[in-house]
Protein backbone atom coordinates (compact mmCIF):
# COMPACT_ATOMS: atom_id res chain seq x y z
CA UNK A 1 0.00 0.00 0.00
CA UNK A 2 1.49 3.26 -1.05
CA UNK A 3 0.22 5.48 1.74
CA UNK A 4 1.06 3.05 4.52
CA UNK A 5 3.37 4.60 7.10
CA UNK A 6 4.09 1.37 8.93
CA UNK A 7 3.80 -2.06 7.43
CA UNK A 8 4.54 -5.53 8.66
CA UNK A 9 4.39 -8.49 6.32
CA UNK A 10 4.08 -12.12 7.29
CA UNK A 11 5.44 -11.68 10.78
CA UNK A 12 5.98 -14.90 12.71
CA UNK A 13 7.43 -15.06 16.19
CA UNK A 14 7.97 -18.24 18.19
CA UNK A 15 9.00 -18.42 21.83
CA UNK A 16 10.27 -21.94 22.20
CA UNK A 17 7.34 -24.07 21.13
CA UNK A 18 4.76 -21.31 21.49
CA UNK A 19 3.72 -19.47 18.37
CA UNK A 20 3.24 -15.89 19.53
CA UNK A 21 2.58 -14.45 16.10
CA UNK A 22 1.64 -16.47 13.03
CA UNK A 23 2.14 -14.76 9.65
CA UNK A 24 0.63 -11.50 10.81
CA UNK A 25 0.51 -8.60 8.36
CA UNK A 26 -0.50 -5.08 9.17
CA UNK A 27 -0.62 -1.87 7.20
CA UNK A 28 -1.06 1.39 9.03
CA UNK A 29 -2.28 4.28 6.93
CA UNK A 30 -1.16 7.81 7.51
CA UNK A 31 -3.06 9.91 10.04
CA UNK A 32 -5.25 7.06 11.13
CA UNK A 33 -5.70 5.74 14.63
CA UNK A 34 -5.50 1.98 14.41
CA UNK A 35 -6.79 -0.09 17.27
CA UNK A 36 -5.25 -3.42 18.19
CA UNK A 37 -7.36 -5.63 20.40
CA UNK A 38 -7.48 -9.25 21.40
CA UNK A 39 -7.63 -11.41 24.50
CA UNK A 40 -4.70 -11.67 26.90
CA UNK A 41 -1.79 -13.51 25.32
CA UNK A 42 -3.04 -12.90 21.81
CA UNK A 43 0.30 -11.39 20.79
CA UNK A 44 -0.51 -7.68 20.82
CA UNK A 45 2.51 -6.55 22.79
CA UNK A 46 4.69 -9.00 20.85
CA UNK A 47 3.59 -7.28 17.67
CA UNK A 48 4.49 -3.92 19.23
CA UNK A 49 7.90 -5.27 20.18
CA UNK A 50 8.44 -6.48 16.64
CA UNK A 51 7.45 -3.09 15.26
CA UNK A 52 9.68 -1.17 17.66
CA UNK A 53 12.59 -3.57 17.28
CA UNK A 54 12.79 -5.33 20.63
CA UNK A 55 11.94 -8.69 19.10
CA UNK A 56 13.39 -9.94 15.85
CA UNK A 57 10.70 -11.88 14.02
CA UNK A 58 11.47 -15.44 12.92
CA UNK A 59 9.89 -14.61 9.60
CA UNK A 60 8.53 -11.53 7.91
CA UNK A 61 9.59 -7.93 7.44
CA UNK A 62 8.79 -4.54 8.92
CA UNK A 63 8.68 -1.41 6.77
CA UNK A 64 8.58 2.22 7.75
CA UNK A 65 7.38 4.07 4.69
CA UNK A 66 9.39 2.39 1.95
CA UNK A 67 12.35 1.43 4.12
CA UNK A 68 12.79 -2.09 5.34
CA UNK A 69 13.70 -1.77 9.02
CA UNK A 70 13.52 -5.40 10.12
CA UNK A 71 17.22 -5.48 11.06
CA UNK A 72 17.31 -2.10 12.79
CA UNK A 73 17.88 -1.73 16.53
CA UNK A 74 15.15 -0.07 18.59
CA UNK A 75 17.08 3.19 19.01
CA UNK A 76 17.58 3.41 15.24
CA UNK A 77 13.87 2.93 14.68
CA UNK A 78 13.25 5.74 17.10
CA UNK A 79 15.51 7.96 14.98
CA UNK A 80 13.54 6.93 11.94
CA UNK A 81 10.23 7.85 13.52
CA UNK A 82 8.72 5.07 15.60
CA UNK A 83 7.76 6.17 19.09
CA UNK A 84 6.22 3.96 21.72
CA UNK A 85 4.94 3.74 25.25
CA UNK A 86 4.87 0.69 27.46
CA UNK A 87 2.06 -1.32 29.00
CA UNK A 88 3.66 -1.15 32.43
CA UNK A 89 4.86 2.45 32.53
CA UNK A 90 8.62 2.65 32.16
CA UNK A 91 9.61 6.14 33.23
CA UNK A 92 13.14 6.94 34.33
CA UNK A 93 12.40 6.81 38.01
CA UNK A 94 15.28 8.92 39.30
CA UNK A 95 14.75 11.72 36.77
CA UNK A 96 12.43 14.69 36.93
CA UNK A 97 9.51 15.02 34.55
CA UNK A 98 11.36 17.41 32.27
CA UNK A 99 14.48 15.25 32.23
CA UNK A 100 12.37 12.25 31.25
CA UNK A 101 11.06 14.20 28.30
CA UNK A 102 14.51 15.57 27.48
CA UNK A 103 15.72 11.97 27.11
CA UNK A 104 13.11 11.73 24.38
CA UNK A 105 14.82 14.65 22.64
CA UNK A 106 18.11 12.77 22.75
CA UNK A 107 17.94 11.36 19.25
CA UNK A 108 17.25 14.83 17.84
CA UNK A 109 20.30 16.31 19.58
CA UNK A 110 23.80 16.37 18.17
CA UNK A 111 26.05 17.76 20.90
CA UNK A 112 29.02 15.46 21.48
CA UNK A 113 31.46 15.07 24.36
CA UNK A 114 33.62 17.99 23.29
CA UNK A 115 30.62 20.28 22.87
CA UNK A 116 29.51 19.30 26.33
CA UNK A 117 32.90 19.72 28.00
CA UNK A 118 33.74 23.01 26.36
CA UNK A 119 30.16 24.27 26.55
CA UNK A 120 30.05 25.29 22.90
CA UNK A 121 27.36 27.52 21.51
CA UNK A 122 25.91 24.58 19.65
CA UNK A 123 25.37 22.59 22.81
CA UNK A 124 23.95 25.57 24.68
CA UNK A 125 21.57 26.50 21.89
CA UNK A 126 20.53 22.91 21.47
CA UNK A 127 19.81 22.60 25.16
CA UNK A 128 17.78 25.84 25.21
CA UNK A 129 15.73 24.72 22.23
CA UNK A 130 15.19 21.28 23.72
CA UNK A 131 13.93 22.77 26.97
CA UNK A 132 11.56 25.10 25.13
CA UNK A 133 10.23 22.16 23.15
CA UNK A 134 9.77 20.16 26.36
CA UNK A 135 7.79 22.98 27.95
CA UNK A 136 5.55 23.01 24.91
CA UNK A 137 4.98 19.27 25.25
CA UNK A 138 4.28 19.65 28.95
CA UNK A 139 1.74 22.31 28.12
CA UNK A 140 0.19 20.09 25.49
CA UNK A 141 -0.11 17.12 27.81
CA UNK A 142 -1.39 19.22 30.69
CA UNK A 143 1.71 18.65 32.78
CA UNK A 144 2.94 22.23 33.04
CA UNK A 145 4.13 23.17 36.48
CA UNK A 146 5.34 19.63 37.10
CA UNK A 147 8.71 20.06 35.33
CA UNK A 148 10.89 19.45 38.33
CA UNK A 149 8.82 16.81 40.07
CA UNK A 150 10.42 13.39 40.19
CA UNK A 151 8.54 11.36 37.59
CA UNK A 152 8.10 8.33 39.84
CA UNK A 153 6.27 10.38 42.46
CA UNK A 154 3.45 11.40 40.11
CA UNK A 155 0.03 9.76 40.19
CA UNK A 156 -0.55 6.96 37.71
CA UNK A 157 -2.53 8.91 35.17
CA UNK A 158 0.07 11.68 35.03
CA UNK A 159 2.83 9.14 34.61
CA UNK A 160 1.05 7.83 31.53
CA UNK A 161 0.92 11.36 30.19
CA UNK A 162 4.63 11.86 30.84
CA UNK A 163 5.28 8.67 28.90
CA UNK A 164 3.26 9.94 25.97
CA UNK A 165 4.95 13.35 26.10
CA UNK A 166 8.31 11.59 26.20
CA UNK A 167 7.45 9.52 23.15
CA UNK A 168 6.22 12.65 21.34
CA UNK A 169 9.54 14.34 22.07
CA UNK A 170 11.23 11.89 19.71
CA UNK A 171 9.12 13.41 16.91
CA UNK A 172 7.63 10.14 15.75
CA UNK A 173 5.75 9.50 12.52
CA UNK A 174 4.07 6.53 14.12
CA UNK A 175 3.19 6.37 17.77
CA UNK A 176 2.63 2.97 19.35
CA UNK A 177 0.55 3.22 22.51
CA UNK A 178 0.38 0.10 24.65
CA UNK A 179 -2.75 0.32 26.80
CA UNK A 180 -2.56 4.09 27.32
CA UNK A 181 -5.76 4.26 29.38
CA UNK A 182 -4.88 1.51 31.86
CA UNK A 183 -5.46 2.76 35.38
CA UNK A 184 -7.28 5.89 34.28
CA UNK A 185 -10.73 6.89 35.43
CA UNK A 186 -13.56 7.67 33.04
CA UNK A 187 -12.84 11.37 32.90
CA UNK A 188 -9.14 10.81 32.25
CA UNK A 189 -10.01 8.33 29.54
CA UNK A 190 -12.15 10.88 27.75
CA UNK A 191 -9.40 13.46 27.97
CA UNK A 192 -6.96 10.89 26.61
CA UNK A 193 -9.24 10.09 23.69
CA UNK A 194 -9.57 13.73 22.67
CA UNK A 195 -5.85 14.18 23.15
CA UNK A 196 -4.90 11.29 20.86
CA UNK A 197 -7.35 12.53 18.24
CA UNK A 198 -5.92 16.01 18.38
CA UNK A 199 -2.37 14.66 18.07
CA UNK A 200 -3.04 12.81 14.86
CA UNK A 201 -4.65 15.86 13.34
CA UNK A 202 -2.25 18.54 14.53
CA UNK A 203 1.01 16.66 14.25
CA UNK A 204 0.48 14.54 11.15
CA UNK A 205 0.83 11.59 13.46
CA UNK A 206 -0.29 8.05 12.95
CA UNK A 207 -1.18 5.97 15.98
CA UNK A 208 -1.47 2.30 16.75
CA UNK A 209 -3.22 1.69 20.04
CA UNK A 210 -3.51 -1.47 22.11
CA UNK A 211 -6.50 -1.01 24.34
CA UNK A 212 -8.67 -3.20 26.51
CA UNK A 213 -11.38 -0.67 27.16
CA UNK A 214 -13.90 -1.45 24.44
CA UNK A 215 -15.79 1.77 24.72
CA UNK A 216 -12.60 3.75 24.21
CA UNK A 217 -11.37 1.62 21.31
CA UNK A 218 -14.68 1.70 19.50
CA UNK A 219 -15.01 5.45 19.78
CA UNK A 220 -11.36 6.30 19.08
CA UNK A 221 -9.99 3.84 16.56
CA UNK A 222 -10.79 3.09 12.98
CA UNK A 223 -9.90 0.60 11.69
CA UNK A 224 -9.56 -1.99 14.42
CA UNK A 225 -7.48 -5.15 14.16
CA UNK A 226 -8.19 -8.21 16.23
CA UNK A 227 -5.49 -10.69 17.21
CA UNK A 228 -6.22 -14.07 18.69
CA UNK A 229 -3.68 -16.79 19.42
CA UNK A 230 -1.12 -15.00 17.29
CA UNK A 231 -3.35 -14.70 14.26
CA UNK A 232 -5.01 -11.65 12.80
CA UNK A 233 -8.59 -12.77 12.66
CA UNK A 234 -10.31 -9.59 11.64
CA UNK A 235 -9.71 -6.03 10.53
CA UNK A 236 -12.31 -3.41 9.89
CA UNK A 237 -14.40 -0.57 11.19
CA UNK A 238 -15.69 -0.74 14.78
CA UNK A 239 -19.09 -1.86 13.53
CA UNK A 240 -17.62 -4.58 11.32
CA UNK A 241 -15.45 -5.85 14.13
CA UNK A 242 -18.28 -5.99 16.59
CA UNK A 243 -20.45 -7.85 14.12
CA UNK A 244 -17.78 -10.33 13.06
CA UNK A 245 -18.65 -13.79 14.35
CA UNK A 246 -14.99 -14.80 14.67
CA UNK A 247 -14.33 -11.86 16.93
CA UNK A 248 -17.37 -12.56 19.00
CA UNK A 249 -16.30 -16.16 19.33
CA UNK A 250 -12.66 -15.46 20.08
CA UNK A 251 -12.82 -12.40 22.19
CA UNK A 252 -16.13 -10.79 22.73
CA UNK A 253 -17.93 -14.11 23.15
CA UNK A 254 -18.84 -13.79 26.79
CA UNK A 255 -19.10 -10.06 26.72
CA UNK A 256 -20.78 -9.54 23.36
CA UNK A 257 -24.09 -8.49 24.85
CA UNK A 258 -22.47 -6.00 27.14
CA UNK A 259 -20.39 -4.44 24.37
CA UNK A 260 -23.36 -4.45 22.05
CA UNK A 261 -25.44 -2.54 24.53
CA UNK A 262 -22.71 -0.01 25.14
CA UNK A 263 -22.24 0.68 21.47
Amino acid sequence: MADAVLRAEGISVRFGGVVALDKVSISIKRQTIHGLIGPNGAGKTTLFNVASGFIRPDAGDVFLGDDRITARAPHQRCDLGIGRTFQNIRLFASLSVIDNILVGMHCRGRAGTLDVLVGTRRSREESTLARAECRRLLELTGLHGLEDVRASSLPYGSQRRVEIARALATKPRVLLLDEPSAGMNLQEKNILRDFIRRLTQDFDLTALVIEHNMKLVMSLCDPIMVLDHGQMICEGSPDDVQADPRVIEAYLGKESEKVGSRA
Binding site: S52, G53, F54, A73, P74, H75, C78, D79, G83, R84, F86, R90, L91, F92, A93, S94, L95, D99, L102, V103, G104, M105, H106, C107, G109, A111, G112, T113, V116, L117, G119, S123, E126, S127, A130, R166, A167, A169, T170
Partner: protein
Protein backbone atom coordinates in the same frame (compact mmCIF):
# COMPACT_ATOMS: atom_id res chain seq x y z
CA UNK B 1 25.40 27.52 38.20
CA UNK B 2 24.07 30.13 40.50
CA UNK B 3 26.40 32.84 41.67
CA UNK B 4 26.26 31.42 45.18
CA UNK B 5 27.49 28.12 43.88
CA UNK B 6 30.28 29.85 42.01
CA UNK B 7 31.30 31.60 45.18
CA UNK B 8 31.32 28.35 47.11
CA UNK B 9 33.32 26.59 44.41
CA UNK B 10 35.80 29.46 44.19
CA UNK B 11 36.14 29.47 47.96
CA UNK B 12 36.78 25.73 48.09
CA UNK B 13 39.27 25.97 45.22
CA UNK B 14 41.13 28.81 46.91
CA UNK B 15 41.22 26.83 50.13
CA UNK B 16 42.59 23.73 48.42
CA UNK B 17 45.12 25.76 46.46
CA UNK B 18 46.33 27.37 49.64
CA UNK B 19 46.87 24.16 51.58
CA UNK B 20 50.55 23.60 50.60
CA UNK B 21 51.36 27.22 51.40
CA UNK B 22 50.13 26.77 54.96
CA UNK B 23 50.94 23.14 55.60
CA UNK B 24 54.63 22.35 55.61
CA UNK B 25 54.33 18.91 57.16
CA UNK B 26 55.28 16.32 54.49
CA UNK B 27 53.14 13.63 56.10
CA UNK B 28 50.01 15.78 55.92
CA UNK B 29 50.80 16.71 52.34
CA UNK B 30 51.22 13.04 51.49
CA UNK B 31 47.84 12.26 53.03
CA UNK B 32 46.39 15.18 51.07
CA UNK B 33 47.85 13.83 47.83
CA UNK B 34 46.31 10.42 48.42
CA UNK B 35 43.03 11.98 49.38
CA UNK B 36 42.97 13.92 46.11
CA UNK B 37 43.88 10.76 44.21
CA UNK B 38 40.98 8.92 45.81
CA UNK B 39 38.66 11.83 45.03
CA UNK B 40 39.65 11.53 41.37
CA UNK B 41 39.33 7.75 41.43
CA UNK B 42 35.93 7.65 43.13
CA UNK B 43 34.62 10.47 40.93
CA UNK B 44 35.77 8.68 37.79
CA UNK B 45 34.24 5.41 38.98
CA UNK B 46 31.10 7.44 39.59
CA UNK B 47 30.78 7.97 35.83
CA UNK B 48 30.34 4.29 35.11
CA UNK B 49 28.74 3.25 38.41
CA UNK B 50 26.68 6.27 39.36
CA UNK B 51 25.80 7.92 36.06
CA UNK B 52 25.47 4.85 33.84
CA UNK B 53 24.57 2.35 36.58
CA UNK B 54 27.10 -0.25 35.45
CA UNK B 55 28.99 -2.01 38.25
CA UNK B 56 32.76 -2.14 37.96
CA UNK B 57 34.91 -3.89 40.52
CA UNK B 58 38.13 -3.28 38.66
CA UNK B 59 38.75 0.42 39.04
CA UNK B 60 42.09 -0.02 40.82
CA UNK B 61 43.11 -2.26 37.94
CA UNK B 62 42.79 0.68 35.59
CA UNK B 63 44.77 2.79 38.03
CA UNK B 64 47.43 0.07 37.78
CA UNK B 65 47.27 -0.09 33.99
CA UNK B 66 47.81 3.67 33.79
CA UNK B 67 50.63 3.44 36.32
CA UNK B 68 52.41 0.61 34.49
CA UNK B 69 51.93 2.32 31.13
CA UNK B 70 53.49 5.53 32.47
CA UNK B 71 56.27 3.65 34.27
CA UNK B 72 57.23 1.70 31.17
CA UNK B 73 57.00 4.76 28.94
CA UNK B 74 59.26 6.66 31.33
CA UNK B 75 61.77 3.85 31.90
CA UNK B 76 61.99 2.35 28.42
CA UNK B 77 61.07 5.21 26.13
CA UNK B 78 62.16 8.11 28.36
CA UNK B 79 58.94 9.99 27.70
CA UNK B 80 58.34 13.03 29.88
CA UNK B 81 55.76 12.74 32.64
CA UNK B 82 53.17 15.00 31.02
CA UNK B 83 53.10 12.80 27.93
CA UNK B 84 52.83 9.76 30.19
CA UNK B 85 49.79 11.22 31.94
CA UNK B 86 47.95 11.12 28.63
CA UNK B 87 49.50 7.80 27.67
CA UNK B 88 48.42 6.20 30.96
CA UNK B 89 44.91 7.54 30.47
CA UNK B 90 44.62 6.35 26.88
CA UNK B 91 46.02 2.89 27.68
CA UNK B 92 43.57 2.46 30.55
CA UNK B 93 40.73 3.74 28.36
CA UNK B 94 41.57 1.17 25.67
CA UNK B 95 41.33 -1.59 28.26
CA UNK B 96 38.20 0.10 29.57
CA UNK B 97 36.77 -0.23 26.09
CA UNK B 98 37.50 -3.97 26.17
CA UNK B 99 35.89 -4.37 29.59
CA UNK B 100 32.97 -2.21 28.54
CA UNK B 101 32.12 -4.42 25.58
CA UNK B 102 30.72 -7.30 27.66
CA UNK B 103 28.43 -4.78 29.37
CA UNK B 104 26.50 -4.74 26.12
CA UNK B 105 25.26 -8.24 26.87
CA UNK B 106 26.02 -8.91 30.53
CA UNK B 107 24.10 -7.08 33.25
CA UNK B 108 24.16 -6.31 36.94
CA UNK B 109 25.91 -8.78 39.18
CA UNK B 110 27.11 -10.77 36.23
CA UNK B 111 28.90 -7.75 34.83
CA UNK B 112 30.45 -7.14 38.25
CA UNK B 113 31.92 -10.64 38.11
CA UNK B 114 33.20 -10.09 34.58
CA UNK B 115 35.11 -7.03 35.81
CA UNK B 116 36.57 -9.03 38.71
CA UNK B 117 37.72 -11.68 36.24
CA UNK B 118 39.30 -8.99 34.12
CA UNK B 119 41.10 -7.59 37.17
CA UNK B 120 42.52 -11.03 37.92
CA UNK B 121 43.79 -11.41 34.36
CA UNK B 122 45.54 -8.05 34.42
CA UNK B 123 47.04 -8.81 37.83
CA UNK B 124 48.39 -12.14 36.60
CA UNK B 125 49.91 -10.42 33.59
CA UNK B 126 51.54 -7.87 35.89
CA UNK B 127 52.97 -10.67 38.03
CA UNK B 128 54.02 -13.10 35.32
CA UNK B 129 55.11 -11.11 32.29
CA UNK B 130 58.58 -10.71 33.78
CA UNK B 131 60.27 -9.16 30.78
CA UNK B 132 57.78 -6.34 30.59
CA UNK B 133 56.73 -5.77 34.17
CA UNK B 134 59.59 -7.32 36.22
CA UNK B 135 56.91 -9.45 37.85
CA UNK B 136 56.28 -9.19 41.60
CA UNK B 137 59.48 -7.13 42.00
CA UNK B 138 57.72 -4.22 40.37
CA UNK B 139 59.30 -1.36 38.49
CA UNK B 140 61.53 0.90 40.62
CA UNK B 141 63.33 4.06 39.63
CA UNK B 142 60.58 5.82 37.73
CA UNK B 143 61.78 9.40 37.29
CA UNK B 144 59.82 11.95 39.28
CA UNK B 145 58.01 14.74 37.50
CA UNK B 146 59.95 17.94 36.99
CA UNK B 147 59.10 21.51 36.22
CA UNK B 148 61.80 23.75 34.73
CA UNK B 149 64.18 20.82 35.41
CA UNK B 150 63.44 20.98 39.12
CA UNK B 151 61.67 18.02 40.70
CA UNK B 152 58.02 18.48 41.60
CA UNK B 153 58.37 17.59 45.24
CA UNK B 154 55.30 16.94 47.37
CA UNK B 155 53.88 20.39 46.74
CA UNK B 156 54.10 19.93 42.99
CA UNK B 157 52.35 16.57 43.17
CA UNK B 158 49.72 18.01 45.46
CA UNK B 159 48.85 20.50 42.72
CA UNK B 160 49.03 17.84 40.02
CA UNK B 161 46.55 15.62 41.83
CA UNK B 162 44.40 18.64 42.65
CA UNK B 163 44.31 19.37 38.93
CA UNK B 164 43.38 15.78 38.07
CA UNK B 165 40.69 15.60 40.76
CA UNK B 166 39.30 18.97 39.64
CA UNK B 167 39.29 17.88 36.00
CA UNK B 168 37.49 14.65 36.85
CA UNK B 169 34.85 16.51 38.83
CA UNK B 170 34.50 19.03 36.02
CA UNK B 171 33.93 16.21 33.52
CA UNK B 172 31.37 14.51 35.78
CA UNK B 173 29.59 17.80 36.30
CA UNK B 174 29.46 18.77 32.64
CA UNK B 175 28.52 15.33 31.35
CA UNK B 176 25.86 14.67 33.95
CA UNK B 177 24.04 17.90 33.10
CA UNK B 178 24.12 17.33 29.35
CA UNK B 179 22.22 15.19 26.89
CA UNK B 180 24.95 12.59 27.34
CA UNK B 181 24.34 12.50 31.08
CA UNK B 182 20.62 12.11 30.55
CA UNK B 183 21.28 9.27 28.13
CA UNK B 184 23.47 7.59 30.77
CA UNK B 185 20.79 8.10 33.42
CA UNK B 186 18.23 6.60 31.05
CA UNK B 187 20.44 3.55 30.60
CA UNK B 188 20.82 3.29 34.36
CA UNK B 189 17.11 3.61 35.14
CA UNK B 190 15.56 1.56 32.35
CA UNK B 191 17.50 0.19 29.41
CA UNK B 192 14.47 -0.87 27.42
CA UNK B 193 12.80 2.52 27.68
CA UNK B 194 16.11 4.19 26.84
CA UNK B 195 16.38 2.17 23.63
CA UNK B 196 12.79 2.93 22.73
CA UNK B 197 13.55 6.63 23.08
CA UNK B 198 16.48 6.48 20.71
CA UNK B 199 19.36 6.10 23.16
CA UNK B 200 22.00 3.75 21.81
CA UNK B 201 22.37 1.89 25.09
CA UNK B 202 25.31 -0.23 23.92
CA UNK B 203 27.27 2.82 22.86
CA UNK B 204 26.65 4.71 26.08
CA UNK B 205 27.57 1.81 28.33
CA UNK B 206 30.91 1.41 26.60
CA UNK B 207 31.28 5.20 26.53
CA UNK B 208 30.92 5.37 30.31
CA UNK B 209 33.58 2.71 30.77
CA UNK B 210 35.99 4.52 28.46
CA UNK B 211 35.63 7.96 30.06
CA UNK B 212 35.73 6.49 33.55
CA UNK B 213 38.84 4.37 33.00
CA UNK B 214 40.63 7.18 31.19
CA UNK B 215 40.71 9.24 34.37
CA UNK B 216 41.73 6.23 36.44
CA UNK B 217 44.63 5.79 34.02
CA UNK B 218 45.67 9.44 34.32
CA UNK B 219 45.64 9.01 38.10
CA UNK B 220 47.76 5.90 37.74
CA UNK B 221 50.35 7.70 35.65
CA UNK B 222 50.59 10.50 38.20
CA UNK B 223 50.82 7.88 40.95
CA UNK B 224 53.72 6.14 39.18
CA UNK B 225 55.70 9.37 38.91
CA UNK B 226 54.91 10.33 42.48
CA UNK B 227 55.81 7.00 44.10
CA UNK B 228 58.60 6.31 41.55
CA UNK B 229 57.73 2.65 42.00
CA UNK B 230 54.91 0.42 40.86
CA UNK B 231 54.23 -3.21 41.66
CA UNK B 232 51.25 -5.58 41.33
CA UNK B 233 50.60 -5.21 45.06
CA UNK B 234 49.71 -1.55 44.64
CA UNK B 235 46.56 -2.26 42.64
CA UNK B 236 44.58 -5.03 44.25
CA UNK B 237 40.99 -6.14 44.37
CA UNK B 238 40.84 -4.63 47.85
CA UNK B 239 41.74 -1.23 46.39
CA UNK B 240 38.97 -1.56 43.81
CA UNK B 241 36.56 -2.44 46.58
CA UNK B 242 37.65 0.56 48.63
CA UNK B 243 36.99 2.92 45.71
CA UNK B 244 33.62 1.29 45.15
CA UNK B 245 32.79 1.80 48.83
CA UNK B 246 33.76 5.47 48.58
CA UNK B 247 31.29 6.01 45.76
CA UNK B 248 28.44 4.12 47.39
CA UNK B 249 29.07 5.54 50.84
CA UNK B 250 29.06 9.12 49.60
CA UNK B 251 26.22 8.63 47.17
CA UNK B 252 26.69 7.26 43.68
CA UNK B 253 25.39 9.46 40.90
CA UNK B 254 25.85 12.66 42.87
CA UNK B 255 28.63 15.13 42.12
CA UNK B 256 30.05 15.53 45.60
CA UNK B 257 29.01 12.20 47.09
CA UNK B 258 32.16 10.38 45.99
CA UNK B 259 34.23 13.31 47.27
CA UNK B 260 32.72 12.88 50.72
CA UNK B 261 33.06 9.10 50.52
CA UNK B 262 36.70 9.39 49.50
CA UNK B 263 37.37 11.90 52.28
CA UNK B 264 35.87 9.66 54.94
CA UNK B 265 37.50 6.43 53.82
CA UNK B 266 40.89 7.94 52.94
CA UNK B 267 41.17 10.01 56.11
CA UNK B 268 39.71 7.51 58.56
CA UNK B 269 42.76 5.20 58.58
CA UNK B 270 45.01 8.23 59.17
CA UNK B 271 42.87 9.74 61.89
CA UNK B 272 42.58 6.37 63.58
CA UNK B 273 46.31 5.75 63.76
CA UNK B 274 46.15 6.06 67.55
CA UNK B 275 44.24 2.77 67.59
CA UNK B 276 47.25 1.00 66.03
CA UNK B 277 46.25 -2.64 65.62
CA UNK B 278 42.53 -1.91 65.79
CA UNK B 279 42.75 0.75 63.12
CA UNK B 280 41.20 -1.08 60.18
CA UNK B 281 38.63 -2.71 62.42
CA UNK B 282 37.50 0.82 63.30
CA UNK B 283 37.53 1.85 59.64
CA UNK B 284 35.23 -1.08 58.96
CA UNK B 285 33.00 0.07 61.78
CA UNK B 286 32.90 3.59 60.34
CA UNK B 287 31.76 2.12 57.01
CA UNK B 288 29.04 0.00 58.54
CA UNK B 289 27.66 2.86 60.62
CA UNK B 290 27.89 5.32 57.75
CA UNK B 291 26.07 3.03 55.32
CA UNK B 292 23.32 2.27 57.83
CA UNK B 293 22.96 5.98 58.60
CA UNK B 294 22.76 6.69 54.89
CA UNK B 295 20.21 4.03 54.18
CA UNK B 296 17.96 5.23 56.96
CA UNK B 297 17.97 8.84 55.93
CA UNK B 298 21.41 10.26 55.63
CA UNK B 299 19.82 13.23 53.93
CA UNK B 300 17.68 14.06 56.92
CA UNK B 301 20.62 13.43 59.20
CA UNK B 302 22.65 15.78 57.08
CA UNK B 303 19.95 18.42 56.90
CA UNK B 304 19.66 18.44 60.65
CA UNK B 305 23.43 18.72 61.01
CA UNK B 306 23.59 21.37 58.32
CA UNK B 307 20.85 23.35 60.01
CA UNK B 308 22.86 23.16 63.19
CA UNK B 309 25.99 24.38 61.47
CA UNK B 310 24.02 27.16 59.88
CA UNK B 311 25.39 28.00 56.50
CA UNK B 312 29.01 27.51 57.38
CA UNK B 313 29.57 24.66 54.95
CA UNK B 314 29.45 25.51 51.26
CA UNK B 315 28.15 22.25 49.80
CA UNK B 316 25.16 20.07 50.41
CA UNK B 317 26.00 16.40 50.73
CA UNK B 318 23.58 15.49 48.06
CA UNK B 319 25.43 17.24 45.28
CA UNK B 320 23.38 18.42 42.38
CA UNK B 321 23.03 15.25 40.39
CA UNK B 322 20.37 12.65 40.45
CA UNK B 323 20.58 10.19 43.27
CA UNK B 324 20.74 6.55 42.43
CA UNK B 325 19.19 4.60 45.27
Amino acid sequence: MTSKRWQATALAAAGLLGVPLVVGNPYILHVGIFLLMYVALSSSLNIVLGLAGQPSLAHATFLGVGAYAAALAALRLHWPYWVNLGFGGVTAALLGLIVGLPSVRVRGHHLAIVTIGFAQIVRLIEINWDRLTSGPMGLPGIPTATIASRPFGRIGFYYLFLLIAGATLFVVNRISRSRIGRALAAVRDDEMAAEALGVDTRYYKVYAFVISTFWAGVCGAAYAHYMTFVSPDSFTQADSTTILCMVILGGSGTLFGPVIGASVLALAPELLRFASGYRYMLVGLVMVVAVIARQSGFDRLWKRTAAMLGRLLPFGLRGRLHRNG
